[in-house]
Symmetry: C2
Subunit: 410 residues, 2 copies
Amino acid sequence: MDFLKVISPADAMQRLRSALPGRPSRGEELELLPALGRVTAFDVLAADAVPGFARSTVDGYAVRARDTFGAGPEQPAYLELKGQVIMGRRAEGEVSPGTAIQVPTGGMLPPGGDAVVMLEYAAELGGDMLEVVRPVAPGENVMAAGEDFARGAVVVPAGRRLQPADLGALAAAGLRTIVVQPRPRVAILSTGDELVAVDEEPGPGQVREVNSVSLAAAIIGDGGDPLLLGIVPDRESELAEAVIGACRQAGLVLLSGGSSVGKADLVPAVLARLGQVLAHGLAVKPGKPTVVAVCGDIPVIGLPGHPVSALVVYDVLVGPLVRLLAGEREVYPVPGLRARLTRNLPVRGGVEEHVRVRLIEGESGWAAEPLPGKSGAISSLARADGLVRVPASRRGLNEGDEVEVRLLRR
Amino acid sequence: MDFLKVISPADAMQRLRSALPGRPSRGEELELLPALGRVTAFDVLAADAVPGFARSTVDGYAVRARDTFGAGPEQPAYLELKGQVIMGRRAEGEVSPGTAIQVPTGGMLPPGGDAVVMLEYAAELGGDMLEVVRPVAPGENVMAAGEDFARGAVVVPAGRRLQPADLGALAAAGLRTIVVQPRPRVAILSTGDELVAVDEEPGPGQVREVNSVSLAAAIIGDGGDPLLLGIVPDRESELAEAVIGACRQAGLVLLSGGSSVGKADLVPAVLARLGQVLAHGLAVKPGKPTVVAVCGDIPVIGLPGHPVSALVVYDVLVGPLVRLLAGEREVYPVPGLRARLTRNLPVRGGVEEHVRVRLIEGESGWAAEPLPGKSGAISSLARADGLVRVPASRRGLNEGDEVEVRLLRR
């Protein structure tokens, strides 16, 4: 028995998107700081203009710009200094023609003024006389009312994963809370009669189950809420029952192990019985023994049991799916670090291969050293700084070739 | 009055490193999943070899490799099939010369066996006869005992920010908990008589204070624990008192606003009185009005009040400092996304300039469109997808130039 037809991660994602129903936005209201990294449920609009008044962006003198036209060190403009704006208060007085009012950075621009001369281009001569040695254009050194946000402007759009500047923008617009989408719950089931939980001592022939913790951590990083459902024995009825239970509790179900084509690999058959198998076999190395299915409207992914394979498939397929279910509408590529290979890298071709590398900083930039290690050895991934993707069309890469290293560390 | 001498962020960091005492590692014990993103306090060693026994990495037959040497489709090797290994149990029997024992992926390699023939290269002929059509080398398709971790091997080193694969490695080594460094507490004080808290309605001349929330979010992202101490009026005695109080409660103090050279910019004078000013003026645009100081052994950074400037200085200086205080010993560069500029980008030169850009996906890759916007307009950063750094040595960049965009979104 063998895999019927391996497909690319992009094709698998496309099949999942087609098979899954659209979901309406739902909301959960949070204060700003706890909303960091969460995804907005709706467009947020500015209730008022920000700032509410024109402000100076420098320490200087509010003027009518035309009063400074032509001014220079040889031919200064002379204005009457009429007072000063106090920080945080309404500007008193008005900038009438031929006059100036002192204003601090952030201070309100007094009525009549349309520009600010910086402190260093003006001198107070005494007797209310101000000398200006450089002209300003209308609007110069001024932030207009509503220049940050016009009333009704979109402060942050729906489907955005909130970053520090977004939270600052929400605060500027006077929002104390924000409505975000709930985190998608992602259930994790591990299968394999050789597995014991991490808090148990393995007996002869047994090993500790490690994928649930590394997958759960990756899920948290992508904005999901992992639900660890433990280890299921390699028996079809128990596995089916566990999958049904997981689908009731979660928006995405991950199975770890049992996804290949051996006698003990029950996952493909169980998922075919409970739902629809969209793909069995991913054109990814390591990671080929992957099952992509939907049960009802819940996506179920059968991941390879080998820890490295499971995390590589997480990276190329599951992570993007978690973000989709989290409601993210803005998708950004993850840039890699440019580095040069320290040695030739032969690959078989036909599948995209993800090679673990260690980064070495040199005088002429970064070098990427491919690491040996079986996909069953989690240590080889924990020792790696990143992954280099060799496209399916390539037969290998050469020493000195520039590659993009997708960092595992940040 | 002007800045005495602007210095680069790298120089500022170097001065801080020299002025700060080394800190001993302290520990806080956490379960694995809550330790995601935390920094290890000590090297973690493997108490036992992982795996504890040699395992098959495929479904197949455990053999003595030499019994298969020279085997091929024309000239198969014939072995006596002596039984099978049950998953998760001690292997029964022994692979004696001329024999084979069936073994599943992950099953224990029986004594005597030194390699595994994959299922597809063998056929059971009946009557305990196994035909092998491909030779295996010793060790082939086997993960040796201790191949993942030898006993006493470093599972994760001290000073590492824990990522999913690290947690998997810790689980594999049988650790249920991990000792991490405490998060560094970072106090944030905002100064400015024009500021009101985000939950207050600004009066005439007043604006909402936004930097504390965006800085706090950035601190969380770098593994710190923000402590929001609110708004201090622009009075020297109150500011000094607030800084002294903040230094007692935190390992790093950030001041927002009042860091320039104007009359209301009290931060440089106050920090000179309370400690040692290492730099006033950073060769960064936006972000020049920055004060770098130490008070006792606590670093205190006076950030510009303009929200964009504050976040840019956070990015180039404060973030790395938070990670240093968090105990991180492994430092990785943040790779940018390669994109082409949509238009010429003139800059003044002499300072490194961080230009906000929007990313546009095109057929021939990504384009970066420089965004207008004053550094006081947080919206211009919230609308940006990333920042392009123009080095201090450049006078500008041209339309079509390839740039690295440091993503603000992920």
